[in-house]
Structure formats: structure tokens, C-alpha cells
């Protein structure tokens, strides 16, 4: 061990927290929340508490900032609901189960089913493809690559996250589509007996193309967060594993992965958030057809955000309301996903005193 001096070595063996750099030293001084009590010791050297000090002013500011998050969330929800309700009540069909989207007719008919399905399916494909690759890259960068290689590679990975999504979309539509279509034909030829690869074609602008482009887009997020987490694995744990005779892979499996799991879950959820909300890349790569099909390779697929982008320009009042209602559904999906992620992380915290 000791081949990677950059790794943070936590003084408290066993790791008091994943976010080691933020952890306050334990047992020294007073907890900051008890600022109203005069601090023990120090005597006259400490500044006297005045009614309107920097201290209370800053406290007020930070409380206000914290409250702002709630205010913004509530304001967004209120806005979405107030615009969505009239549109949904004008809807002549069931909003949750109808598959198509014709809100601008004199008798508006629109439903979220196909859009929500496409959103979730393309994001799930993206994660299935991206997460294993990301974890591989992250482990390579944090534990296998020599430092001379790891630093520039990590930098390139971060650079990938800065590419605007429309560039990924155009690349997916104009360059990536042909190879994916050829691959789809191959899949269809040899694995056509599996329903998800069945069908007669045409192939190309499919949910698979959208999912793969999304996978490339979430790759840098998941990679760089996971790398950070893996790098913070306490050196003691790793050395202990190696001392017990573990090979490098066994050390990664027994020390690094369990330690980084909550962080990785958080990274995956952030990636999922990006995938769910992705707009223009999907608008350019999906077939934008309102249907529900598990077939991954046939032309088709649509998503909530892509539908908003493509139909907003020509929408009338009800149409805009309907699109906002679909935005509300996306909001709800994202909220559920995030809450699920939190739940997973907190559950882990109970039996392992670590948080992400």
C-alpha cells in the first residue's frame, strides 16, 4: 500500500464520514449550534455577543437561503398545478392512461402514458449501459491508473460533462444513428426471438439510440462522483484488506465498494435525474411517436421533456396547460426517484455510520 499518497487518510480509523473533508473534528470546542451560551473558557479574549452581530446576521442569511429552497420548490409546484388543472379538466380522455397527445383540438384529448413510459424506459436503458462503465472508469482512475494518467483522464471526463446536450443530440442523429441501425438489424437477425429485439423494422431512431446517447451523457456525472467517493476510502481499510492477503480486486470488493456504495447510489441518482430531464438530445434522436412498446430497436419512443420541446411552439392555451401538466408528472417522477435514493442512503446510514 501507500502507492497513492494523494488518497485522503482519515485520522479516525474506521471512517467517521464519507465526506471526510467536511467533518468537523470531534471532541474539540463547542458545537456551533449552541452559540447562545457563553463559550467555556476563553474569558475576555473572546468577542462579546452583541444583539446584531455578524454572527446573527450570517445565521439569518443562511436560514433564509435554506428556506429559499423550500419556497422555490413550493412555488414551482404551485405554478405547475395552477396551469395544469384547467387543462386536465378540459381533457376528454383519461390523462393518466391515454397514449396520444392532441391537446390543441376543439375537443382536447391527451394523455401521459406513452410519454412517461418512454421517459422512464430511455433513462433506465441509459443507466443500465452507463453505470457499469462509469464504475469501471472510476475504479480505474482511483485505484488502478498511475497518477500521471489518472489526472488528465479525469480532466477529460469532466470536460465531457460540459458538452451541451444539443451537440450530443445532433451527433446521435447524424453520426451515431447509422451504426445503431446496423447493430439493431444484427440484433434483430440473431436475437429477434426476444421480444425487445423483435419487429420488422424500420430501425434507427429508436428508444435504444436515445438511451445510448443518454448513457454517454450521464457517464461523466456518475464517473466523476464515484471517483471522488472511491478516492476517499480510508487507507487503513484498504491496507487491512491487503494485509489479510486480499488481492487488489478482493481489496476493491471488500473495502472500496462497500465504503463507496452510498456515494455511488447518490451519483447514479444524479445521473438518472439528468437522464429523466434531458430534452433536446432525445427530441433529436427518438422517433417521437406516441406509443407504448417494449421493443427497443424499432423506430419510435418519446419522452415528456422532448414532447414539450417539440410541441410547445404551436400549442394554444389548453395545449400549454397540457404540456405543463406533463411537466408536473416529470416533476413527480423525479421527486419519487430522489426520495427513493434518499431512503436507500439513509437506510444504509443506520447500520453503517456513514452518509453520502
Amino acid at each position: 500500500m501507500g502507492d497513492n499518497p494523494s488518497r485522503s487518510t482519515d485520522a479516525n480509523a474506521g471512517g467517521a464520514g464519507v465526506t471526510g473533508r467536511h467533518a468537523s473534528p470531534v471532541g474539540i470546542g463547542v458545537s456551533p449550534s449552541s452559540y447562545e451560551e457563553p463559550p467555556f473558557g476563553g474569558g475576555g479574549a473572546l468577542p462579546k455577543k452583541s444583539r446584531f452581530s455578524m454572527e446573527s446576521g450570517f445565521r439569518g442569511l443562511s436560514v433564509a437561503s435554506g428556506a429559499m429552497v423550500l419556497v422555490i420548490i413550493v412555488a414551482i409546484a404551485a405554478f405547475l398545478i395552477s396551469k395544469a388543472v384547467p387543462a386536465i379538466s378540459a381533457d376528454k380522455v383519461n390523462f393518466l392512461s391515454f397514449k396520444e397527445w392532441f391537446p390543441n383540438e376543439t375537443e382536447p384529448r391527451f394523455g401521459i402514458a406513452a410519454l412517461a413510459f418512454g421517459t422512464v424506459l430511455s433513462s433506465v436503458i441509459a443507466l443500465i449501459v452507463a453505470v457499469p462503465i462509469s464504475l469501471g472508469i472510476a475504479l480505474f482512475l482511483s485505484h488502478y491508473a498511475p497518477k500521471r494518467l489518472a489526472t488528465p483522464l479525469g480532466f477529460v471526463m469532466d470536460l465531457l460533462a460540459a458538452v451541451p446536450s444539443v451537440v450530443f443530440g445532433l451527433w446521435g442523429r447524424d453520426v451515431f444513428q447509422a451504426p445503431v441501425a446496423d447493430f439493431s438489424v444484427w440484433l434483430n437477425h440473431y436475437f429477434g426471438w426476444i421480444p425487445i429485439f423483435g419487429g420488422e423494422g424500420p430501425f434507427g431512431q429508436s428508444i435504444m439510440l436515445g438511451g445510448l446517447v443518454l448513457a454517454i451523457m450521464v457517464l461523466p456525472i456518475v464517473t466523476s462522483l464515484s471517483r471522488e467517493v472511491f478516492q476517499q476510502t480510508p487507507g487503513m481499510n484498504e491496507e487491512a484488506a491487503l494485509a489479510l492477503g486480499a488481492t487488489k480486486w478482493e481489496m476493491v470488493r471488500t473495502a472500496v465498494l462497500p465504503y463507496g456504495k452510498p456515494g455511488v447510489i447518490a451519483a447514479v441518482m444524479l445521473g438518472l435525474g439528468r437522464a429523466l430531464g434531458e430534452t433536446i438530445a432525445l427530441a433529436l434522436t427518438l422517433g417521437l411517436v406516441y406509443n407504448i412498446s417494449f421493443n427497443l430497436i424499432q423506430v419510435g419512443g418519446n419522452s415528456i421533456a422532448a414532447n414539450i420541446a417539440t410541441t410547445f411552439a404551436e400549442a394554444n392555451d389548453t395545449g400549454r396547460g397540457a404540456l405543463i401538466a406533463s411537466g408536473l408528472v416529470l416533476f413527480a417522477i423525479t421527486l419519487v426517484v430522489n426520495m427513493a435514493a434518499r431512503a436507500i442512503i439513509y437506510r444504509r446510514r443506520e447500520f453503517r455510520d456513514s452518509a453520502a
Binding site: N104, E200, G204, Q205, G300, E314
Partner: protein
């Protein structure tokens, strides 16, 4: 502080320079514009006009605005291609002085639009004819003949392979591959879709059961965003077929199918052949409203049946900027204005329709 002030100064100087430069370039283009169309004496508007709507006529509008502003230095016209629906909404809301639309006003829209025209009404003025091309990309097929019913079956997904007997019957001798057909339509709402499906629903009632609408109602196919998106998709993907306005088909150099008209001929799409269909159109609007009803089954020889008429929607009376609107529309409906569009993939209005538009425009007050 001093540094900051000099920063402001630099900013102001830069802005002023840009503004001057902008004026300068205007001045230089002006003479060439006026020399182009020196023959026709045009009344000039003086104020600025804001208009928006149909993307199908955006290219035509750009051309007209360039020529018109070249002649009339005081006039300022701004046309945004936001889509027909958005254009009508802006007209009703009062943010657009006139609107461009791919379809004539519907009764419920007309009632709202009329309310904006004190003492008058909102009229549909046919101004630009955009023929709709059926474009395809099939390896080894240079010439393709289609009729309305086959077209309807293809776009409804009832014909799924290029070597289907129905297509083969119309194209004896052509080597049609056994490839899946990818029918491309517009995502979202579009006037082109509306006009194309109107053609299908009128000419192939039995095979097209989805009526006509701005949104694509048939199942399956694949959607692309905007006319340029559709053209790009057809250009890049073999096995595709789609409908786009002629100008986009020509810009992307796509292969156009010949369509069977009411006289039983397979006609190629040109400005002239599309104009023949419009010449047979009847005015269905009441009073000064010139909404056209197109006879897709026209038996006139050499007529190409799938055409799109885009309208300007303006007040016949009661608009605050009536004089400026009139001056601009007078130019667009003049023979010089219509001729300016020929190279852009539009067809000029037939004389019978054009003269009616000119009369209506002259009455705007």
C-alpha cells in the same frame, strides 16, 4: 472606480460603433434593392410592423421584406416564423400587426380575430403557394409514381415494404427493394401536415381515415422536428418517404415522387404544375375574405395536386397601422412581388386569385 467608468465609456463607444456600422450596411444595400424593382411604383409605409406565424412562408417573407425595405427606407418589418397557431394567437392578442397562417381562420378563431378589427373583420389573404413535395430515399429508385390511395396506405402504415404489390403496380420496371418503409412526419403541429392530410382525406377517403389536422394522427412512422428536420432525415436515411414544402426538398436536393392527379397523369412537381391546381381553386370565404378551397381532384392536365396555400391574416378595417400594412401587402400581392418568389421554391399566385387579393388589399383602411 475610474477604471469602471472608463469601462462604461468603452461599452457605450462600442455600442455606438455597432449601431453606426449597422446603419452603414443598410445604406449600402438600399440602392441595389431599389434598382431591382425600379419599374413598379410602390406606396411606401413609414412605420414599423411586427408580424409572425407560418414557417412555411418564412423564406418568402424574408425575401419580400428585404426587397420592400430596400425600396422604402422608412419602413421596418419584422416577421417571425413562430408557427401558424402562434401567429394567429399573437394577432388576437394584439402583439402582431398581421399574421401568417397555413390554414384559413377557423370560425372560433375568426370571431376572436374580428374583435381586434374595429368596424371591419379579419380577412384571409392567400399570398404564398408552397407546393408540398413527396420526397423519398430508396436505393436504386430514381423515378417513383404514386397515387393518393397508395400514399395514404404508406403513411397510415398499411403498406410497410417498398416492394409492396400496390407500389409495384404503379411503377412497372422499377427495381423496388424489399426494405421497410420509414414514413417520416412532422413532430408537433404543422400547417404542412394539415394540408397534406387534407389532401389525403379528400383524395383517398377509403384509405385515410384520420381526417385532417395539424397534429399527425396516424399510428407509427417516425417524426422529425421542423421541415428542415424532415428533409435531413430523408436525406440521411434510406427507405424513408416524407412530405415537405418544395423549397426544402430543393435545398436538400431530394428526389421527388410524381403524383397522380385527377386527370390520371403522374405529374412532376414544378411551380407551374402546382399553380394549375390553385387556378382551379374556389374562394370559399365570405365577403372580402379570400379563403380558398382547393380542388385536389382537379382534372386539369399537368396539375400537381398537393399544394399548400398560406395566408396573411389582417384587418380589413380598424387597424391602427392600416396604411403600413396595406403598403406592404400591396407589394407582396403585386406581380413583381409574386415573381420574386419563383427561385425560392414557391409558386406564384395564379392571376385570377392574385387580382382578387390585390382588390381586397386596396380596400384596407
Amino acid at each position: 472606480m475610474k477604471l469602471q467608468r472608463s469601462g462604461y465609456m468603452a461599452g457605450i463607444a462600442l455600442t455606438a460603433m455597432l449601431a453606426l456600422a449597422a446603419c452603414g450596411s443598410d445604406n449600402t444595400t438600399e440602392p441595389s434593392g431599389s434598382s431591382n424593382s425600379a419599374g413598379s411604383a410602390t406606396d411606401c409605409g413609414t412605420g414599423s410592423l411586427t408580424a409572425q406565424g407560418s414557417t412555411a412562408q418564412k423564406n418568402a417573407m424574408d425575401e419580400w421584406i428585404k426587397a420592400y425595405q430596400g425600396k422604402c427606407s422608412g419602413a421596418q418589418i419584422n416577421y417571425q416564423g413562430t408557427g401558424s397557431g402562434a401567429g394567429i394567437e399573437a394577432f388576437v392578442a394584439g402583439t402582431a400587426d398581421f399574421a401568417g397562417s397555413d390554414s384559413a381562420l377557423k370560425p372560433e378563431e375568426k370571431a376572436k380575430a374580428d374583435a381586434k378589427c374595429a368596424g371591419g373583420e379579419a380577412v384571409d389573404l392567400p399570398m404564398v403557394i408552397g407546393p408540398i413535395a413527396v420526397v423519398y430515399n430508396v436505393d436504386g429508385v430514381k423515378d417513383l409514381n404514386l397515387d393518393a390511395s397508395t400514399l395514404a396506405k404508406i403513411f397510415a402504415g398499411k403498406i410497410s415494404k417498398w416492394d409492396d404489390p400496390a407500389i409495384a403496380a404503379l411503377n412497372s420496371g422499377a427495381k423496388l427493394p424489399s426494405v421497410a418503409i420509414q414514413a417520416v412526419h412532422r413532430s408537433g403541429e404543422s400547417g404542412t401536415t394539415d394540408n397534406f392530410t387534407k389532401y389525403l382525406s379528400k383524395s383517398a377517403e377509403a384509405d385515410w381515415t384520420y381526417s385532417n389536422a395539424k397534429a399527425w394522427k396516424a399510428p407509427g412512422g417516425v417524426a422529425a422536428t421542423g421541415s428542415d428536420g424532415v428533409a435531413a432525415k430523408v436525406k440521411s436515411t434510406a427507405g424513408t418517404i416524407a412530405y415537405v414544402e418544395l423549397s426544402f426538398a430543393e435545398n436538400s436536393d431530394l428526389t421527388k415522387a410524381k403524383i397522380k392527379n385527377g386527370a390520371g397523369e403522374f405529374t412532376e412537381l414544378t411551380g407551374e404544375s402546382a399553380g394549375k391546381t390553385i387556378a382551379g381553386a374556389k374562394v370559399s370565404g365570405k365577403g372580402s375574405d379570400l379563403a380558398l378551397s382547393i380542388d385536389y381532384g382537379t382534372t386539369e392536365a399537368g396539375a400537381y395536386p398537393i399544394v399548400l396555400v398560406t395566408y396573411e391574416i389582417a384587418c380589413s378595417k380598424g387597424s391602427a397601422k392600416a396604411k403600413d400594412i396595406q403598403a406592404f401587402l400591396k407589394y407582396t400581392s403585386s406581380t413583381a412581388g409574386q415573381d420574386a418568389l419563383k427561385d425560392l421554391g414557391y409558386a406564384p399566385l395564379p392571376e385570377s386569385v392574385r387580382s382578387k387579393v390585390e382588390t381586397t388589399v386596396a380596400a384596407i383602411s
